[in-house]
């Protein structure tokens, strides 16, 4: 796991919901970014959303050991938030605005012990 506390073992993103203003945040926070209320409630975020913006990274950014190209995008979730995420699709022309997306876990690279380092990513949703 690329960082503890970002998502569950089966891929659900872990967020916070403010007990005062009701806004939902990702990743989890100690204080609400919007109204500064402390100790927002922990929540699991919806696994499905819609694509709002997307691109692909063609050269390895600083500190990244995985393969290129890879997709980065913004997915809108029903909680009323937009989340920055890796995308499984690395060809921008294969995606369209408003496309149904779902979260999954992807392997970034292997660490020194040969274990997969895993991150969250969104993929075009299977028909439901």
């Amino acid at each position: 796991m690329v960082r503890d506390g970002l998502f569950t073992e089966d891929g659900a993103l872990l967020g916070s919901k403010c007990t005062n203003c009701g806004n939902v945040l990702f990743p989890r926070v100690d204080s609400c970014t919007y109204c500064a209320t402390e100790d927002p409630a922990p929540v699991e975020l919806s696994r499905r959303g819609t694509l709002w913006a997307w691109t692909a990274v063609t050269a390895p950014p600083p500190g990244y050991q995985g393969e290129v190209p890879f997709g980065i995008g913004i997915v809108e979730l029903p909680e009323g938030i937009r989340v920055i995420t890796r995308l499984t699709a690395s060809d921008p022309s294969s995606l369209h605005a408003g496309q149904a997306m779902e979260v999954r876990l992807v392997s970034l690279h292997s660490d020194a012990e040969g274990n997969d380092v895993v991150s969250y990513a969104f993929a075009p949703a299977a028909a439901s």
Binding site: Y34, W54, V57, I72, L108, V117
Partner: protein, 382 residues
């Protein structure tokens, strides 16, 4: 604002922007020395110094002034990302207005790493996940601008062509060669929709200004007045904000940090966007210039493509944008880029710019915005 507390620009200096063998200190010395010379200020002639730098390291300002043999006064190093120089200018102007000092040196000097900038802003896990990809954030913002403002790839290419044409007449620019829409669009795609030529190059350079209380200026000159210098951070909510969050709200009404800074700067200067004759705006990428024009109120929201199409932002137009060539021609040394814009505008208002002169310019606006978020807006008048 009383006459005695208004602030004028007594001198400016530059080290060109590009790639050099010179150190951060060397370049700062060149810019500071020429600004002090222009202002007629020597050792003991200024009471404080503010130095913008992001990658310069510990005591960058002290190293420059030590080399010049001018220390003892407070020297403050300031990091505010792309707006570091704007932050330095704001603090210097505020100190003069408050009566704390009558003459202050402001400078910025920078030597950037090559390629995609590694920023200590990102957490290690964000780097590992590939999310420390600054051009991707520019690209996501560019794609949204295409959706909301009718901007096309052709518009993005024409911003580059315009700025590179302006920059061809700027001896301080890194790229002094014009380009074409075809050449821009045939450069490789870095992050769709942004091609390589649509992104500015991180580089090196320095810029300096001497600010002075207006009643101390020589009576027979017409100095440029620093009408306002404002810095703002972000209000949370936009996932595309330069604060670079991992999430934001679906509420699109949250004002951009640039708009917050511009609103305050217009009010402080007592002018509106319609009064601006010439502007130097953040063009880290071609879409950023168009978005900047909207956020600064230089056109209606959604009107930046039409503004470009009208020719208004080209030299000779109603409101030339980036007559220096912008960061797309000059490159971007973070600590120096904002002050480089202000030096350009001071020279524009003094009508010293030769082939890239904006005729009759009396009111000028400089804008930088970057990670933090930090947004700086400076308004100059003459």
């Amino acid at each position: 604002m009383t006459a005695s507390s208004s602030v004028v620009v007594a001198g400016v200096g530059m080290h060109p922007f590009g790639r050099f063998d010179a150190s951060t200190t060397d370049m700062g010395v060149v810019a500071v020395r020429s600004a002090l010379k222009e202002a007629g200020v020597g050792k003991g002639g200024f009471q404080a110094a503010f130095c913008g730098t992001a990658y310069g390291g510990v005591a960058t300002g002290h190293k420059v002034l030590s080399r010049l043999g001018m220390t003892g006064m407070p020297i403050v190093d300031i990091e505010a990302g792309c707006a570091s120089g704007g932050a330095a200018l704001m603090l210097a102007a505020a100190a003069i207005r408050a009566g704390q000092y009558d003459t202050v040196l402001v400078f910025g000097t920078e030597k950037m790493p090559k390629g995609i900038i590694r920023s200590s802003f990102f957490e290690p896990w964000q780097e590992e996940a590939g999310l420390a990809a600054t051009p991707a954030f520019f690209a996501l913002r560019a794609q949204r601008l295409c959706q909301t403002s009718g901007v096309t790839k052709d518009h993005l290419a024409r911003v580059v062509v315009k700025n590179r044409r302006h920059g061809a007449a700027n001896p301080d620019a890194m790229f002094q060669k014009e380009t074409s829409v075809e050449e821009v669009l045939s450069s490789r795609v870095v992050c769709e929709p942004l091609h390589l030529f649509m992104l500015c190059s991180p580089n090196e350079g320095a810029a300096a200004l001497v600010l002075r209380r207006s009643d101390l200026a020589a009576p027979d000159t017409t100095p440029v007045t620093l009408a306002s210098a404002v810095l703002r951070s972000h209000i949370p909510g936009s996932v595309l904000s330069e604060s670079t969050p991992l999430s934001g709200l679906t509420d699109d009404s949250v004002p951009a940090p640039t708009t917050l800074a511009a609103t305050a700067a217009y009010e402080e200067a007592g002018v509106g966007p319609e009064d601006i004759d010439v502007a130097e705006v953040q063009d880290t990428d071609a879409a950023r210039e168009l978005g900047s024009c909207e956020e600064l109120g230089l056109c209606e929201p959604g009107g930046s493509a039409a503004l470009l199409d009208s020719g208004a932002t080209t030299l000779g137009g109603r409101i030339p944008v980036n007559p220096s060539g912008g960061l797309l021609s000059k490159g971007e040394p973070l600590g120096a880029s904002a002050l480089g814009q202000v030096v350009e505008l001071v020279r524009q208002l003094r009508e010293e710019c030769g082939p890239r002169q904006v005729e009759g310019a009396r009111t000028a606006l400089s804008h930088t915005v970057g990670r933090g978020a930090n947004a700086g807006v400076v308004i100059l008048t003459r």
